[in-house]
Structure formats: structure tokens, C-alpha cells
Amino acid sequence: MVVNILLVIAVLAALAAVESRKIFNSVVAFGIMGLLLCVTFLLLGSFDLALIQLAIEVALLLSLLKFTQATGEKEIQKGWALLNYLAAVILVVVFTWFSFDLFRNLPGAGANVQRFLALNLFNLLGVAGVVFGAVVGAAAVLRPKGKDKEAGG
């Protein structure tokens, strides 16, 4: 039941992200959708996936928000500050409550760390390799001096 409610809110947030006129609102709605999906993954029992999703979502949200700010869009409308703060507090409380409840109910959390590491070492190595490759790709795209200048644009 809780999963269904979270999924409905996630769909509404996705619609808001797509149809919002301001990019800032779009990015914030997208962040809400991603965090709700993260909690949904926790509720469905995919703890590793929820952690990956949380890492992706936070990094992506911060990057997109900084980029949106760099594009110069005036994002905050006057008169909506109280509602914005209220929405932020509600989101943080709900997310923290769900996360705390679920992490508290994890079976044997923290007891089998060494065994987990031994069993999943190649898995972790693969994850690190993928992340390293992606970061190298992003660095190649974002390098300050490209070949296009030598070719004349």
C-alpha cells in the first residue's frame, strides 16, 4: 500500500518535472521523483540498488541545480518561501522516517561486513570500474581545450 502511494507521488513528480515551465522547478520535481523511487526500492527489498540510486540522485540533483543556477534563471518566486520551506521539511521528515525504519529492520546489519566484502569483492570492483569509466568519459567531454578549436570550430 505504501509502495503504491509512493509510486503515484513519483509519477506526479515526473509529470511536474516534464511539464513545469521553470527549469528549477523541473529539476526539483525530478529530485523528488528519484528520492521516492529510492525509498520504493528499499521497500521492495533491493537495498544495494537503493544505495546506488541514492548516490546517483544526490549527485545528479546537486549537479543539475548548480547548472541551473549557472544558466541565470531566477528561480524563487516571492510569496512562496513559506510553502517551499514547508515542502522541504515534509520531504526530509518523510524520507528520514522511511529510511530509519527500514535500516532498523535490516537483518543482521553490520554483523557480516567482512563476509559481505569477501563475497562481493568482484561486484564492488565492477561497480568501481563502471564509475571510474563514467567519470573519465565525463572528464573527456568537459575538458577545457578540445580539438574543435584546432579544426576551426
Partner: protein, 94 residues
Amino acid sequence: MMTFFVAALLLSIGLYCVAVKRDLIKIAIGIIIMEYAITLFFVASAPWRGGEDYLAQVAALTGLATTIVIVALVRRLYGRYGTLDISQMRRLKG
């Protein structure tokens, strides 16, 4: 069953966003929404595959890699053209 429906809905929303919108950030958001939908589908279908969610982890990792590169590409394109409107990027060749 609701989860499958939501995954299909999210995939449709992302596809619509990529096909219709002209803003680069929204297009990136649409692609990432589609990635999330596919991950959600794999998570929801894990009980039918013996309860393992390795496919979902692989999908999430692929999504992580493509997301990083997509955001880098968006930043690069904005830095080069000074706009996020794809209809004004007329020098994309090769």
C-alpha cells in the same frame, strides 16, 4: 502489478519528454526518467526471476554511467552554444 504499470507510465512520460521538449535539461531528465522506469521494472520483476535483483543493479549502474555522461554533455553544449534550446543549435555536424 501496480509497479509494472507505474514503470510503463514513467517510460511513456520520459519518451514524451524526449520527443516533444526542446530544452536540453528536460531532454536529459526524460532520458533519466526512462532509465529509472527500466530499473523499477527489473526490481518489480525480481520475484519472477528467483528473487535476485542483479539485472536491476546492472541497469542502475548503466544508468549511473549514462547519467554522468549526459549531464557532462549538456554542460558542454550549453558552454559552447550559450543556450539550452536545441532548435538553436544549428552547427551540430558530423
